[in-house]
């Protein structure tokens, strides 16, 4: 891994983020209606003095270009503005919500990749077998089911009819003072349904992808070479083939991250998960633009970071890319 690549990649990521900041700003400008009126409405009244003081406070009375520069400057300092709704800075609202989202998204990602790849590999072993047919059908079904619908059905089944899993968010409020292990178990307990719901769609895609990828790799010359030197079927499958088949899976996993965050938005809403997605959704209902834009900014940042990590791990996994620019 060379540092210049990493630096270039990071610099480019920052550029993308700057783009998001500008877009954010433009979107707020495009919003119909006077932001000051919206804020005043939330505060419960709109006298002229109040509107003026709000304009002053949020810098709405300055020229647009100045506002943009101010906004960029603030974002660079980690200041995403004040929420229109909550009496708090957007950055602290997001800070409270980041970890749950990351926990949910990463768990779902890991679940879907691990289960998906195992299914895909098993299917690839016998391209015409039962497993293979199952993976194909399952992948198409998984792709076609609306994720929120799966979530609702799971809530009905496992929270209402058979109350096995809780639905009240990420942890049981009554256990907030509990010890670390109990708390961890509690969070795990809450995590099962949302993570599984989110994982299902991507799981199906990974299964399908890894099946195709494995089939391609298994037909390649170096697999024949591995067999010719006497490697066992297991070693051929998991050592020689999977390492190569993992490359496209890795690419898709990176590209999938943005979609995963979108999916998390729906899943968080269904399961009351205290993450950024729900914050964004509720903020949209409240027209809390600074918070919406803050989440959009932060979520994009997560995608950028995920892309950089993917690129880096791709270069680690594929020696052919190492040392290239």
């Amino acid at each position: 891994m060379n540092t210049s690549f990493l630096l270039r990649r990071l610099g480019y990521g920052l550029l993308l983020m700057l783009g998001v900041v500008v877009l954010n700003f433009l979107l707020i400008r495009l919003a119909p209606g006077d932001p000051a009126l919206v804020i005043a409405g939330e505060m419960g009244g709109a006298t002229q003095e109040m509107l003026d003081s709000i304009r002053e406070e949020y810098g709405l009375n300055k020229p647009v270009a100045v506002q943009l520069l101010l906004y960029i400057g603030n974002v660079l300092q980690g200041d995403l503005g004040e929420s229109f709704f909550f009496n708090q800075p957007v950055s602290s609202l997001i800070a409270q919500r980041v970890l749950p989202t990351i926990l949910l998204v990463i768990t779902a990602q890991v679940l879907s990749i691990v289960i998906g790849v195992v299914l895909g590999v098993l299917a690839a072993r016998k391209p015409n077998g039962v497993m293979s047919a199952f993976v194909s059908v399952f992948a198409t079904i998984g792709y076609a089911v609306p994720v929120f619908w799966t979530g609702i059905m799971l809530v009905i089944l496992f929270a209402s009819i058979f109350p096995i899993f809780p639905v009240e968010g990420m942890q049981s409020v009554k256990l907030r003072d509990a010890s670390g292990l109990v708390k961890a178990l509690d969070i795990l307990h809450h995590l099962v349904l949302p993570a599984f719901t989110l994982a299902v769609i991507y799981l199906a895609q990974y299964a399908r992808l890894s099946r195709a990828s494995m089939l391609e790799v298994l037909g390649s010359d170096y697999i024949r070479t591995a067999r010719a030197k006497g490697a066992s079927p297991r070693s051929v499958l998991f050592k020689h083939a999977l390492r190569n088949a993992a490359l496209p899976i890795l690419t898709v996993a990176g590209l999938q991250f943005g979609n995963l965050i979108s999916g998390a938005l729906l899943v968080e809403t269904v399961f009351n998960w205290p993450g950024m997605g729900r914050l964004a959704f509720e903020s949209i209902l409240r027209r809390d633009y600074p918070t919406i834009m803050g989440v959009l900014f932060f979520a994009s940042g997560m995608v950028v970071v995920a892309n950089i990590l993917t690129d880096m791990s791709y270069r680690l996994a594929d020696p052919r890319l190492r040392g290239k620019g």
């Binding site: 010359d221 170096y222 067999r227 010719a228 006497g230 066992s232 390492r243 190569n244």
Partner: protein, 328 residues
Amino acid sequence: MNSLLEIEDLRVTFNTRYGEVTALDSVSLHVKEGETLGVVGESGCGKSITALSVMGLIPTPPGRIAEGAIRLNGEDLTQASEKRMQALRGGEMAMIFQEPMTSLNPVFTVGDQIAEAIMLHQKVDAAQARRDAVALLDRVGIPSPDVRAGDFPHQLSGGMRQRVMIAMAVSCRPKVLIADEPTTALDVTVQAQIFDLLNEIQREFGSAIILITHDMGAISEMADRVAVMYAGRVIEEARADDVLDYPQHPYARGLISCIPALGKDAGGAGDMLAEIPGVVPPLHKLGAGCAFADRCAHQAPRCAVDKPLLAAHGHHPVACHGVEEGWL
């Protein structure tokens, strides 16, 4: 001396959407220790299937060995368990493939790939296997082998990669070494080096080599005996000199006439097609008669209905009615 490897009446079939087709039919071959058997023929004639059958690498399904036996030191490989085959592959017998570009795993270093082959068959630890791998790289003529061992395949040239393949194949001193078109993808000069290397290895290890090629030049350089294959059958078999000097089968004659004059470019498939009109018929369209009949300039009525068998006529065994009946 007895044959080290003996293939007897081998019939291999494949299930395709045209039904079951026979890819190899009544193939019998043998090779002795220290001997080089050349197997020649156009693409699709069954050379590679033969090699893969020996290695037990026929993709099953759709392929299967329907009849016959393959004996290595008297042990019938068609009856051997998968476990046993794993032990034999890379140990007792090894194979060098046609495409050095794609036959090495791109994500492992060449040193690791050779070391893996060593560890699969010899009871040595990783460090020792690594040292052996470097020694092998040195043996196959790779400069600064200790550095090269840490390279990935994409960092090596084609010739280097084929040397790596050879190093990997001979790492456990195989008794039988199958080289499937080992030089097709390489430059002419590199080809010669690779053949030299194979010859050296054979002298050193006493291996039997089965050299599969469509290049008659390679045969003349390397082979002690030659089997000519066409459409899944051996149609002529003899000492290399005999086949080269007195080809009997019209197809063999065609092949021989393709050998370029010395110093010219080694013959490619394109030249060959120019000499023999038509192409190898698809396996599912093989009729009852001689598979070569449609392309044969000397076709007789019998050729279309009656499949000629391999039998000694004159110099050496050949499967042709014309030769058998003496009108050719």
